[in-house]
Amino acid sequence: MRAAVVVFPGSNCDRDLAVAFEAAGAEVSMVWHKDSELPDGIDIVGIPGGFSYGDYLRCGAIAAQSPICKAVAAHANRGGYVMGICNGFQVLTETGLLPGALLRNAGLKYICKTVGLKVETSDSVYTAGYTAGDVIDIPIAHHDGNYFADDATLAELRDQDRIAFSYTDNPNGSVSDIAGILSANRRVLGMMPHPERAADAGHGGTDGEALFRALTGALITA
């Protein structure tokens, strides 16, 4: 599997994400926000956590207009795989590749702790390594992780089995306890929790490892 990790000014989980991809057997290229094309033969693009462009205007809003995001959108529209974690999820909603938006946490505080996540579906390359209903421990670290979508969008997400993960104990006010969602073709994942921070015994937890292993297993480079 060939993965590209996007680096914006202010990204701070880019190297962690690259390490998690590599540990699962992927070849990783880092791509800069000013690049207007992805390297050839990329199977999946990872948009990492952090504070792209200082979170100016709205989290992810400026990043969504960057040259590399046009290339990422083209990749997704061709049926390519994209995963956005934390700030990456915010970027994906701002580009319109995923529905809804991330608002300020209901309690107004930045929250950094490990939370319980329920795997809502195993029907995606990201969640195939889990069984629906599994509860995994994954860290969160965000100020704007309060997922919002209107009722029609929520009904669509539910009817199409596109809620990937939900919180067992909602930390941020997200509607329907949503922690991560999939695109209609199930190839774009956005999630606020950080599976790359639970992918090595040294992290204190390895519940995120199965996500990266399932991904590299499914997207073996031909």
């Binding site: 205007l57 709205r58 809003a61 207009q65 909603t93 701002e94 529905p99 809804g100 938006a101 608002l103 300020r104 946490n105 209901a106 309690g107 107004l108 309060n146 919002f148 979508a149 209107d150 006010g173």
Partner: protein, 76 residues
């Protein structure tokens, strides 16, 4: 020409910052405040020939996230 864009969270979208401001005002003794909604104002200094339609496009594409926010434009 100048434009002033007001961006507000849509009705129905929870505004925890506005709620915190209202709570603080209440704690200070200003008990006549039923509700506070917090938004932002963006001032644009525009070159000649930039139209209100251009500013609308800027709002739709960047200045507001229309999933959660509404906007109004004042031209002066």
């Amino acid at each position: 020409m100048k434009a002033r864009v007001h961006v507000m969270l849509k009705t129905g979208v929870l505004d925890p910052q506005g709620a915190a401001v209202r709570h603080a005002l209440g704690a200070m003794g200003f008990d006549g405040v039923n509700k506070v909604r917090q938004g932002k104002v963006i001032e644009l200094d525009l070159a000649d020939g930039t139209s209100k339609a251009d500013v609308t496009e800027m709002c739709e594409k960047l200045l507001a996230n229309t999933v959660i926010e509404s906007y109004t434009i004042e031209i002066s």
